[in-house]
């Protein structure tokens, strides 16, 4: 099973965001690791990429690195435009 963690720089980005946004990000990442992130594809022909960027919440964007050797999904950037 994969687990997710925050890079300290991403934690710093989150620190300036509302609590509900931080919680939304946490819930979103919980969902990301429910399925195998290394196998996840949005369409059949999409190349598997270890670095992914997806929208979350109403106005958020999260980038994470999938590092299979450690079963780690590391959040490396969080942007909130709300």
């Amino acid at each position: 099973l994969f687990r997710w963690e925050l890079e300290d720089l991403a934690r710093d980005q989150l620190a300036g965001m509302p609590a509900d946004v931080q919680l939304a990000l946490s819930d979103f990442m919980d969902a990301v690791v429910i399925v195998d992130p290394a196998e996840y594809q949005r369409r059949p022909d999409e190349p598997q990429r270890p670095l992914r960027t997806l929208p979350f919440g109403k106005a958020g964007l999260v980038t994470f690195l999938v590092y299979e050797p450690d079963d780690l999904v590391l959040v490396t950037r969080v942007i909130w435009t709300g």
Binding site: E5, E7, D8, S26, R43, T53, L54, P69, I79
Partner: protein
């Protein structure tokens, strides 16, 4: 407004997020848009609709029909959403405006990624009649465009950091916070 196979709306009180993305689908035949405006109440035959928020804007295209390829049940939910007034300095949330913003601020590699992802999303939307992937792609890249416009140096530094992680592996535990630690900080 239909123009060479493209349709766009203007609603001063809305940020035109999902709808404007959908409206930029290119035409399937000369002079004929893939998308046709049918009005908020398709059954009534009205050609204009009112913003569902409180901006009192009236515009064409609150409900859409993707010519012969979208399930009407899907269209029921393809209605304009009200948002706070747009920020003047922000690019419109449309494929063309996003591309212009990226071209002005980001690298050619980022622009190439945007084109490839949007092309794939358009293709899937046409194939499946489901606009979710297209809307998600436009939203993702709109936010990217905002960031490139706001802090291009920061974005370049971020990409360089990611290249390093991809080549050498992620930073060590001293530079990471676990899910449990983070949620404890949130009080959940």
């Amino acid at each position: 407004v239909a123009d060479h196979g493209r349709i766009s709306i203007s609603c001063p009180g809305a940020r035109r997020r999902a709808l404007s993305a959908a409206l930029s689908l290119p035409g399937s035949a000369e002079g004929q848009p893939d998308l046709v405006v049918t009005g908020e109440a398709r059954d009534s035959g009205k050609s204009h609709a009112r913003c569902p928020g409180d901006c009192s804007s009236t515009f064409a295209g609150a409900a859409l029909a993707l010519r012969s390829s979208v399930d009407p049940a899907t269209l029921k939910y393809m209605t304009a959403q009200h948002h706070e007034p747009p920020v003047p300095d922000h690019p419109a949330e449309t494929p063309a405006a996003i591309r212009a913003a990226l071209a002005a601020n980001a690298s050619s590699e980022v622009l190439r990624q945007y084109d490839a992802e949007l092309d794939a999303a358009f293709a899937e939307a046409r194939e499946t009649g489901d606009l979710t992937v297209l809307i998600t792609a436009v939203r993702r890249w709109w936010i990217e465009a905002l960031e490139w416009r706001r802090d291009p140096a920061g974005q370049r530094a971020f990409l360089a950091r990611m290249e390093r992680y991809l080549a050498e592996g992620p930073p060590g535990p001293a530079h990471r916070i676990t899910r449990e630690e983070f949620r404890a900080q949130l009080g959940v």
